[in-house]
């Protein structure tokens, strides 16, 4: 496999998977499952075991690739949660995401740019949503990409920021789609997610993402 670092755009598209959390969040908040918080806190695997779909089967136990990353962000849980709920802001931390479209009650359609700009797409449902605390999601039955995850916002002591935990589990299929997904995540999915979290932190703490693109250079 090629190196992640040589393809910084990968993490962005990859984080698109993580960002599925926001799908249908508002609607779901009205139909919260009592088991939701427990399931979410015990991770993507458990979430999946509690559901019925081929996504569940493909990710059962510790199958597929599991990534867990955390970052302390100097904003309130409510501010951070709000960002994740607001779909149209996500491309700010995921510039390689092609589009996100709300298509139903709690379902959205995501298109990411794959290798040679070949699109990778999936549908996902929000399966749990606790305002200011957590959001969990998974791709729907029959998706080419089996992916599930959660994001938690845990308040810290004063001055220590909010701890954001992301858990992601995915299982790319064999064949063309599978190699596209593998390309997105590269050799080190942890690094991919970490870079996404970093940009999220930069944006939330400073209002912008640092860049040098477009500055002058010599010949």
């Amino acid at each position: 496999m090629e190196h992640v670092m040589e393809h910084p755009e990968r993490w962005a598209a990859a984080l698109g998977g993580a960002a599925l959390v926001v799908l249908g969040a508002k609607k779901l908040s009205d139909e919260r499952h009592p088991l939701g918080a427990l399931l979410a806190t015990t991770g993507a695997g458990l979430i999946l075991r509690s559901t019925r779909s081929d996504t569940r089967a493909r990710l059962s136990g510790r199958r597929g690739t599991i990534v867990e990353e955390s970052a302390a962000i100097n904003r309130s849980p409510a501010d951070l949660y709000e960002f994740w709920r607001t779909l149209d802001l996500l491309p700010l931390v995921m510039p390689e995401l092609h589009s996100v479209e709300q298509v139903g009650h709690r379902r959205s359609h995501w298109i990411a740019k794959g290798p040679a700009r070949w699109p990778i797409e999936w549908y996902a449902d929000i399966i749990n949503d606790i305002p200011n605390e957590m959001i969990a999601w998974r791709t729907i039955e029959g998706s080419q990409v089996a992916c599930a995850g959660s994001v938690h916002f845990e308040p810290g002591l004063p001055g220590r920021g909010t701890t954001v935990h992301i858990k992601l589990q995915y299982d790319p299929p064999a064949g063309k789609v599978g190699s596209a997904v593998a390309w997105l995540f590269g050799d080190e999915p942890s690094q991919v997610i970490r870079e996404g979290l970093r940009r999220f932190k930069q944006l939330m703490e400073t209002g912008e993402i640092p860049t040098t693109d477009g500055q002058p250079r010599g010949k």
Binding site: M5, A72, N74, G159, R160, G161, Q191, R194, E195, R198, K201, Q202, E205, T206, G207, E208, I209, P210, T211, T212, D213, G214, Q215, P216, R217, G218, K219
Partner: protein
């Protein structure tokens, strides 16, 4: 605009490049009125810093006039005259809020490169390799300044550029090195290296109440400059045994604090490269014992070793036994420039110090490439070069 551009080891050129533009909402564009060459720029010239790319614009000591501000940059106005800290800090992360500005979490777009080497990344720096953010530097006619509502400080009109220019780096750097020594009445402070940072450290140690400073170097012009700062005795390490001399001058006790303003660049991106650099350093050390080892050896029991000198990689044969056996305290790191801007400006205004005393050469930017070599080779008694871009 004109800018000093790095093309490779021993290859810097002044050339025409596009003018900088606002790239982020909190940016500002500064018309540079004065800029200096730093000792640490020489490590770039000599090719010791990894992740440089041909075409990079150098320079991290600069000041000037605000000519444009981004739409979310609310502090500065067009026409303001400012000094710009060499460290780039966001102002809102965990570290910035604790005044640890050079450890900013957010300013380095290439933080992952530093994390691979150090575990975690400090702040970005202007004009100092892609590992440190890849930001274009200020040895140019114009410069883009990110987070312009955090770093730059307005300076009063009655102070000349040369009096305030060194607030951008070497004055706070020397001052923080002295502050880190926690100087008590009667303290004797030894300073290794009488380059520009060493000079500022000596002057700062005296301002902070050191009874005497012992300044170690071998370049006569630098030692003469240091001797003029007050209660300073100079030691020429080529002619005297530094440890013996320091012992003599401190009633056999050793200096209370040792400031190491020399540094050692051991760089590379792989372990092998670091090992090779370390061997190079060791070879040099057989000729001139490295300053840090000497400082650790000479420091009195319970004393402080303060390190403003720049280190990048791994150190070979560190006398950790001596450090442990004497219960030494180590303080080091890139300067938290923003913390010192206002208090040091106050000291300049109060006439306690005029940092321009280190300047030996004033040149137009067209002669910047020659100036680098003049500075590196200490030709013409060169200690500090200020460039005029316009």
């Amino acid at each position: 605009m004109k800018a000093l551009v790095w093309h490779g080891t021993n290859d810097v050129r002044v050339e025409k490049v596009p003018d900088p533009q606002i790239l982020n909402p909190r940016d500002a564009i500064i018309k540079v009125t004065s800029t200096a060459i730093c000792g640490s720029d020489l490590h770039l010239l000599d090719g010791f810093i990894p992740t440089m790319k041909s075409g990079d614009i150098l320079g991290h000591e600069f000041m000037g006039e605000v000519v444009e501000v981004g739409k979310a940059s609310h502090k500065l106005k067009v026409g303001d005259r400012v000094v710009v800290p060499f460290t780039i800090a966001c102002g809102s992360c965990f570290y910035c809020q604790r005044e640890l500005w050079s450890l900013c979490d957010n300013s380095n777009p290439n933080a992952k490169m530093v994390e691979a080497l150090y575990g975690y990344s400090g702040s970005a720096l202007f004009g100092y390799s892609h590992m440190y953010g890849g930001y274009a530097g200020g040895q140019a006619q114009y410069a883009r300044v990110p987070y312009a509502d955090v770093g730059p400080m307005k300076v009063p009109d009655h102070l000349a550029d040369e009096q305030v220019l060194f607030l951008t780096d070497i004055f706070p750097t020397g001052y923080m090195a002295a502050e880190n020594c926690n100087i008590q009445p009667g303290d004797i402070v030894a300073v290794w290296g009488c380059g520009p940072v060493g000079q500022m450290a000596i002057a700062s140690a005296l301002m902070l109440g050191a009874e005497k400073v012992l300044a170690i170097d071998c370049v006569p012009a630098r030692m003469r400059m240091a001797a003029q700062l007050g209660a300073v005795e100079t030691i020429n390490f080529e002619e005297e045994d530094v440890f013996d001399r320091l012992k003599q001058l401190t009633a056999g006790r050793g200096p209370d604090s040792c400031i190491e303003a020399v540094g050692l660049e051991a760089h590379g991106s792989t372990l092998d490269a670091y090992y090779d650099r370390a061997k190079t350093a060791t070879f040099l050390a057989t000729d001139r014992p490295t300053a840090l080892r000497q400082a650790i050896h000479a420091c009195r029991k319970g004393g402080t070793v303060s390190i403003p000198g720049v280190y990048g990689g791994f150190l070979d044969k560190m006398p950790i036994g001596a450090a442990f056996g004497k219960g030494l305290t180590f303080k080091m790191g890139q300067t938290h420039v923003m913390k010192y801007l206002r208090p040091l400006l106050d000291r300049i205004e109060a006439g306690q110090i005029d940092p321009s005393f280190v300047i030996t050469h004033r040149l137009p930017i067209d002669e910047a490439a020659e100036a680098y070599k003049l500075f590196r080779d200490s030709k013409d008694e060169c200690i500090k070069v200020v460039l005029k871009p316009h």
